[in-house]
Symmetry: C2
Subunit: 517 residues, 2 copies
């Protein structure tokens, strides 16, 4: 471990990893100054008669010049209903290709077959926002990959692509609808997923781009989310995904009394901040308590006649309802979470599709997260420095995703973590989170059922909360209450082996994830 | 002239010009193979609180670091109603800056004040699709610029930008509507112009991007034609253009009996080609005879129940009518020519805005022009090799624009020139055009009131025309008829001085324009 350095949060991070290269240690949420130019894709040449239709995925891989060591990208709008990652990597394996990096916007339980491809040397690198299920378990516990996984946020990923830090050899676009010249949209066909936001940077910067669809439409596809000008080949397959997995049913307002209580406390805090006013903007995660906060806000806005500006991020039916009711002017959508959102983005011109770079990239000329007033985020742990973990479980296993957590926390005027004080028998507020995904510097407050702690950097906010008679206490007090109930949690036993690097949105290493003993 | 070389059309073109650099001679419409990478714009960094609103144009120029020798870009959606070019260059002149290149998608009569800025050394370079009025006259006759003007097609311009051959220091976007973070659309406000297609490559590749608007909208502007992620500064001014000049009244179907006759002949030829069938695509220029051909097609489609795929290019109310009537499925719009088109692109989701690169760039992965079946173009001259001139007048003066002429001729399955055999007392069919804009290799036929000539490369087409009993003759015969009526036209007297380089869409030099004696 002589190759290590302490970053601005005091976390030991490597300076270099073979097969990945030099690494920059996290310097603070707004400290790192990027240099240089964006990646420059190759210039191509086409004229009429060029045909993009290819018989099958294998043929498209051959035409793209697939070879050992390449980076293949995927997007996760199909979530746990995705067929494409497995189809493509199976094909690559059959062709005898090795040493592939799977560069995905996120991976799900359905991608469990990657475990075998890793063990067989077909896949030797994974870069993703998150890992779930057996794949996360095998990587964290068994260290089946030699090279650490690189975890990126939804804003950090397009940043890495645009900057050229990540070079995509072949981007595969899972397309709900496509035409023969490669125009793609996400709103038609049996596997409609709505926004194609995460795939856009891939299409723009990859060396080769293959569109795979199960629904061909006449030229030109309309709307056009990914344009023909970026696409090399189009493959028609029987089925690119399972609609049931694509549109999750997980986006319901909680009915759990404890969660409703926390949501109400968070709502009071949001109101006390003074930001709920004409033209304000809002984002919340898709967990039940976050949606409950949104529900409370919705009632207040109706009662008081307040009209907001936009709701951003992954979009649910609840946001669609608020748009329809005229409570918000616009939805900015990087990913649709349910059928109502898919229907809405298809038919409502005020429901706007946005790229992940537009959403959250810190190194373009201004992302939507920078315009956010209020952001409600969740946490699996938060520590006394307000650092938040959303990637590893209480046992140290990777089971979550970085998502837009650190992006929106940094961009918004007010970022509030809502969480129960205990989850199971474990405190949520701890001395030091297992893994830092979002630095405390960008978190303004944490709301629990037992009290609200305000980041000492936000004296202004603390004054507002106190004036509103909210139950404000220090984060140490919150931690003490939790530990009083459960005792101090034991430290997770890990080896020195690094199984994942957690990149902050600016490309610096904010933390590592170690192999669990 | 020892620095000259003959290109594939036998035209003498320079190998090098000081202040411009090395030049490539035209090798054939599909011969040149581009190499290398696209231009890589600088990486920037933003976070919440970054403000883009700037008081005035002067301030924005200062913030962009304006200095001698820079290239400033503009787009021409406001046509002869544009105020921005003159406003910005006046400001630059007042600041004492010299040696500016005006990189415009096109220039109009309204830009006459550039003459003085050129004479004063403020402007020393012009790159544009066209020149009109006194500016074209002063450049061709008085050679007020030392460096030749570079003439580019609408597809060649984004190609030059993307390839880095043209480097834009500051792009000025004349924005009918913008929000405080730089999102722009063309469909709202008093100077609504519809599509923003020509400005998109500028925004994407310029080092600095300034949005100038007279109509601020709440965040986020909707729709978003140019996104905040590309914009550095936003300036609000009183007036960015004159709506009367923006929406021209010039797009009427001709009532001239001769033009109607030619249009009817062209319509017969188009029908004889066999391409007018279910799902076909179509584009025509905005001249009266072209619109008349479209009108004939429209009647046929209605009568026979034929439904086409798309109409592309600059869009007029006539195309909008055909969309509304269900005759075409989609409009692909790089530029709106009238109020009806502006209204339509605002409200009809089947009227799609496209970038100039999507429209016509030969060096992306496939432009819309490649999907065109039928293209009707005009000509000021066409020669016995089918080369077409649309840029210089009979007296050799630059008075037109390259536009999408050579792009669509190269992309479409069938490109037909329609023109009267004589214009005034001058033959249109000549031995050798004054200036080649579009190589004969990409022109399939020319239709005049006296007969139709088919390019010898298209024996198939000639057979179809003859089978349909059209009045087919050789292009030499057409020329002879014309010369029999008027005598052989005299050659324009020019000096050796090159006042403009005509770039083919692929960046090679297809011709030069010489100073008129």
């Amino acid at each position: 471990m002589c190759n290590m350095v302490k970053n601005a949060l005091g976390r030991e991070v490597p300076k270099h990893i073979d097969g990945i290269g030099e690494l920059k240690a996290f310097q603070g949420a707004f400290a790192y100054d990027p240099k240089g130019q964006k990646l420059a894709p190759k210039i191509t040449k086409t004229f009429h008669g060029n045909d993009k239709i290819v018989d099958n995925i294998k043929k498209s891989l051959e035409l793209c010049g697939i070879e050992d060591g390449m980076t293949i990208s995927f997007h996760h709008h199909f979530r746990n209903g995705d067929y494409l990652v497995n189809m493509v990597i199976d094909e690559i394996a059959k062709m005898g290709i090795k040493d592939i990096t799977v560069f995905a916007s996120s991976l799900q339980s359905v991608h469990k077959p990657l475990i075998n491809h890793i063990k067989n040397g077909v896949v030797t690198g994974i870069e993703t926002s998150g890992l779930r299920g057996e794949l996360g378990e095998a990587i964290t516990r068994d260290k089946i990959l030699d090279k650490p996984v690189i975890i990126r946020s939804h804003g950090g990923r397009p940043r890495a692509i645009e900057s050229g830090e990540s070079k995509i050899d072949i981007a595969f676009i899972a397309a709900p609808a496509a035409d023969l010249y490669g125009n793609v949209n996400g709103v038609e066909g049996p596997t409609a997923c709505g926004s194609m936001g995460y795939a856009m940077a891939d299409a723009e910067y990859a060396n080769k781009v293959v569109v795979v669809t199960d629904f061909m439409v006449p030229y030109p596809a309309n709307p056009i989310s990914i344009p023909q000008t970026l696409v090399d080949y189009v493959v028609k397959v029987d089925k690119i995904g399972d609609p049931k997995g694509i549109v999750s049913g997980a986006t319901r307002v909680t009915k759990n009394p404890l969660e409703l209580l926390i949501a109400e406390r968070a709502f009071e805090a949001v109101v006390a901040s003074g930001l709920v006013k004409e033209g304000f903007s809002f984002q919340a995660g898709t967990g039940g308590p976050s949606l409950a906060v949104a529900q409370f806000l919705r009632e207040k806005m109706k009662t008081e006649g307040i009209k907001g500006s936009f709701v951003s991020g992954g979009i649910t039916g609840h946001s669609v309802d608020m748009l329809k009711e005229g409570l918000f002017k616009t939805l900015l959508d990087v990913q649709c979470f349910d059928l109502k959102a898919v229907e809405s983005i298809k038919s409502n011109p005020n429901h706007i599709e946005m790229s992940a770079s537009f959403y959250a990239n810190p190194h373009n000329k201004g992302c939507a997260a920078n315009q956010l007033d209020i952001m409600i985020v969740s946490a699996t742990e938060i520590d006394v420095d307000f650092n938040v973990n959303v990637i590893t479980d209480s046992n140290g296993i990777i089971m979550g995703a970085s998502g837009g957590h650190c992006d929106t926390a940094a961009g918004s005027k007010l970022s509030i973590v809502i969480a129960p004080l205990l989850r199971g028998r474990l405190p949520i507020v701890v001395d030091e989170v297992t893994t830092v995904v979002t630095p405390g510097e960008t978190i303004d407050a944490v709301v629990t059922e037992r009290g609200i702690a305000v980041n000492p950097r936000r004296k202004d906010l603390e004054a507002l909360f106190k004036a509103a008679k909210l139950n404000v206490m220090s984060i140490q007090e919150l931690k003490n209450i939790a530990e009083g109930l459960t005792g101090k949690p034991g430290k997770i036993q890990t080896t020195d082996e690094i199984v994942a690097l957690v990149e902050y949105r600016d490309g610096t290493i904010i933390d590592t994830i170690r192999r669990v003993k």
